[in-house]
């Protein structure tokens, strides 16, 4: 919203300093995400003086927990997981407004109690407050929570006004197209789309946001950002960890559902989309949906566009580790992929003929997420003698994590009398240029939801468009069982099949 259209007393303050009085209600308050990310995010927002003076935190969960105990759990979470050390002054003020409501997610009475709890807060402070519901639970209880928020009237609080109720929903947004549509139908039966914030924490990362800045605030890149100059694009989201204790969950998920369909596709959309008409949330999301709809359906099977594999035994950090099928809680005949690689073709004027290679896997050589734009080689034969001229393709790589930043590979002359050349790398690192105390993704996203900015959240049609692309792949894999499942050594960069996917067009995977 332009500054001049804001309330006069918010003009001149950055939008993030104008959050209205808010009650954040966390469903799944005793869960892992709450402890690792949400409570520390609230604390750090308080530390940076970004929470409104009237800020209240309410945990909601099945397990009865006294308020004091919940505050103690939250204190412990900050000590263990916050990027900053616990500051008693800051936390005591938040803790004084922190409480807990126990109840089942399918128990209507519990939501009525929650509504009374929120009304009591309003009565106490003498002002209307915005409610922000954060659904941080397993997806199996999304529907009862949403329906009960509707039935209790909590979802429609102050609808039509700036401080209307809002809901943040954690992924997964369905497990295929049908379930995604069903979830959206449930959401829309209770909330209007403008109230809904589907969170993908990747979008809260500085580098992901910087992608838009680099593309559209630098005149030198955009003219090159098309099929005339770009040879190929590689997007990697690699993890070092295996499934660990999450075997049960992972068996129902797999790399495609867990990483490719959401995080990786967001990176594809931001890399490939057309310039939005503005930075308004809807304008950005419209462009993301347009580009996702332009992706050609994926061909499955031999010579197709997709590869899947499971990690086998191997070596990580000098230690032998088990393969996926030997992990605890994993079916020895499992057909769940721990690695997936795809070749996407985007059928639009800008990207026709440019392959977008994407991959994500567990137990890979290192934890790294990056987007690499590889440009075409220069024409002509001026530097054609390969023994003298080690000519590299110019590559612009956005490193999402760790060591957020970007690098550009250029060719430079090696000092000396003879003209020889070598690739050189120009680096930009966030931590060294801007200091490393940048907010965590969840801090940014929770605050954005509080102030009603949906730019960095996923709209319902975005989620459905992505599922429409991948559901046929999932169905084909489900029908094939283990047939066609590749394997790769733990600690490697992936299966041979993934290399072959690129070899047909004489490309190779980067080793970032």
């Amino acid at each position: 919203m332009p500054d001049a259209q804001r309330h006069p007393f918010l003009q001149g303050l950055s939008k993030h300093r104008g959050a209205p009085p808010t009650v954040v209600v966390i469903f799944g308050a005793s869960g892992d995400l709450t402890a690792r990310k949400l409570i520390p995010a609230v604390f750090n927002l308080g530390y940076d003086n970004l929470l409104p003076a009237d800020f209240f935190l309410v945990g909601f969960g099945r397990k009865p927990i006294p308020d004091d105990e919940f505050r103690g759990i939250a204190t412990g979470a900050i000590k263990e997981f916050s990027r900053r050390e616990l500051n008693a002054d800051v936390w005591n003020r938040i803790a004084a407004n922190t409480s807990y409501v126990a109840g089942g997610y399918d128990e209507r009475d519990a939501f009525d109690r929650l509504a009374k709890h929120i009304s009591a807060i309003e009565t106490k402070i003498g002002r209307e407050v915005q409610t922000l519901f954060y659904i941080s639970t397993p997806p199996s209880v999304f529907a009862p929570i949403l329906l009960n928020l509707g039935a209790s009237g909590l979802a429609s609080r102050y609808l039509g006004r700036r401080h209307h109720a809002k809901v943040i929903i954690e992924k997964p947004f369905g497990r295929d197209l049908i379930s995604a549509r069903a979830l959206n139908t449930t959401i829309r039966s209770v909330f209007e789309e403008q109230q809904v914030y589907r969170i993908d924490h990747y979008l809260g990362k500085e580098t992901v946001q910087d992608l838009l800045v680099q593309r559209f605030a630098n005149a030198i890149f955009e003219p090159l950002w098309n099929r005339n100059f770009v040879d190929s694009v590689q997007i990697t989201v690699a993890e070092e960890v295996g499934v660990g204790t999450r075997g049960g969950y992972y068996e129902q998920s797999g790399a495609l559902r867990d990483m490719i369909q959401n995080h990786t596709m967001q990176l594809v959309a931001l890399t490939a989309m057309e310039p939005p008409v503005s930075l308004d949330a809807e304008a950005v999301r419209d462009e993301k949906v347009k580009v996702l709809k332009s992706i050609q359906p994926l061909r499955v099977g031999s010579g197709g566009d997709v590869v899947r594999a499971q990690y086998a035994a191997g070596m990580m950090g000098g230690k032998l580790v088990k393969g996926y099928l030997e992990e605890e809680g994993i079916n020895p005949q499992s057909a769940t992929e721990t690695y997936a690689a795809m070749r996407l073709w985007i059928n639009n004027w800008r990207w026709q003929g440019v392959p977008f290679y994407i991959r994500s896997g567990k137990r890979q050589a290192r934890r790294v997420s990056e987007i690499a734009i590889q440009f075409k080689r220069p024409p002509g034969t001026l530097f054609a003698e390969s023994d003298r001229f080690n000519l590299a393709a110019n590559t612009l790589a956005f490193q999402i994590q760790p060591d957020e930043g970007l690098s550009l590979v250029l060719n430079g002359k090696v000092p000396g009398l003879e003209t020889r050349m070598q690739p050189v790398k120009m680096n930009f690192r966030y931590s060294t240029t801007f200091g490393s105390n940048t907010p965590e993704a969840y801090e940014r996203l929770v605050l954005d939801a509080m102030i009603g900015d949906g730019t960095l959240f996923i709209r319902g049609d975005e989620a459905e468009t992505s599922w429409a692309l991948y559901t046929p792949v999932l169905e084909a894999w489900a029908a094939a069982g283990r047939e066609g499942m590749g394997s790769y050594a733990s600690g490697s960069w992936g299966p041979v099949g993934a290399d072959e996917l690129l070899a047909t067009s004489k490309h190779t995977w980067r080793q970032p």
Binding site: P21, D89, V90, G126, R127, R429, S431, T432, T433, G435
Partner: protein, 328 residues
């Protein structure tokens, strides 16, 4: 001023070799077994920052502002140039230079940031040569920010058009500056930022957040008087807070009959700041706090009963205020 230059930390180097010695500073550090910054990785400079110490600066004050610049450079790695003019023009006096570097070690290797300072002492008569010398000390292509501190006469700034015209922002502190800042013909007034206004950010934010919850018409309906009361040490803060409030209220609508007053608190209380709205219709609003004790209370009644809220609030620290004034 020679005393200031002598008191500030750094190693004196020949003026014509500043960049050479700056480069050597890091090599030597590594050679002596100290923390070896990995080349330019930890010296990634974001901005050029010139701190210009005026003739009213004392040695202690200069050291304090220098430390503020150091703290700021940890937030935003920068090339800092500290200018120390000499008031007496002795024909034999020459420009002198010092360099200073500091690495701040964080929790990890990636959290190591180093800053570089160049300190220039120059006779006032040599100010016309300063532009060239300064251009050598600054990093090409990066934005320039200019902090003017305790000039005896702000009109001396006319001698530094180069800095006034080229800087993205010019930072002044109206609580300590010569009163001439209010009438000075700034070549680019839109670039000037008052550090008092920046320091007040948490106060403005807490007031803004609360009052934005009410309709603008409700805020000005029946309003008769707006009063800012302050501790004597916070005179500038009181003045700036009142000016900001007036501007915000004007944004809510016309204020034909409203009085605005700024007055010291009596008896004075260290750190006290208070803003009160008086209404003819029974509404009320009052923000009062002690920015030294870091607490404040807001009372408001716009027809739904009086609500009272206790909040934590303090003025921004000097380095945070610099950051806010420069980048926002």
């Amino acid at each position: 001023m020679a005393a200031i230059f002598n008191a500030l930390p750094g190693i004196e180097v020949p003026v014509d070799s500043i960049n050479k010695y700056l480069a050597q500073m890091w090599v030597d550090t590594a050679a002596k077994g100290g923390p070896a910054p990995a080349a330019d990785d930890v010296k990634a400079t974001q901005v050029n920052f010139v701190l210009h110490l005026g003739f009213n600066t004392t040695v202690d004050d200069a050291l304090e502002q220098f430390q503020t610049a150091v703290l700021f450079s940890r937030r935003a790695p920068c090339r800092v140039v500290v200018l120390c003019p000499l008031p007496i023009d002795d024909p034999g006096t020459e420009m002198r230079a010092k360099i200073y570097g500091e690495c701040h070690l964080g929790k990890s290797k990636g959290d190591t940031r180093c800053c570089e300072f160049v300190l220039l002492s120059y006779p006032f008569g040599a100010r016309q040569y300063l532009e060239s010398e300064l251009s050598v000390c600054l990093i090409t292509d990066l934005p320039l920010y200019y902090w003017v501190h305790r000039f005896a006469s702000i009109h001396r700034l006319t001698e530094y058009q180069y800095l006034l015209r080229r800087s993205e922002r010019i930072l002044i502190d109206s609580s300590i500056a010569d009163l001439g800042i209010f009438t000075f013909a700034w070549p680019r007034p839109e670039a000037v930022r008052d550090l008092v206004y920046a320091r007040l950010l948490p106060v403005r934010q807490s007031i803004g957040q609360l009052l934005s919850g009410y309709e603008p018409a409700a805020l000005i309906g029946g309003l008769r008087m707006v009063t800012a009361t302050h501790d004597e040490k916070l005179t500038a803060e009181g003045r700036v807070l009142l000016a900001w409030t007036r501007e915000r209220l004007l944004g809510c609508g016309a204020l034909p009959e409203v009085g605005f007053d700024c007055r010291p608190a009596s008896p004075t209380e260290g750190g006290l700041l208070r803003l009160a709205f008086e209404y003819a219709n029974g509404h009320c609003f009052q923000w009062y706090g002690n920015v030294e004790r870091k607490n404040a209370c807001i009372e408001a009644d716009y027809g739904a009963g009086r609500s009272t809220m206790h909040i934590a609030v303090s003025l921004l620290t000097p380095d945070a205020a610099l950051s806010d004034a420069m980048f926002f």
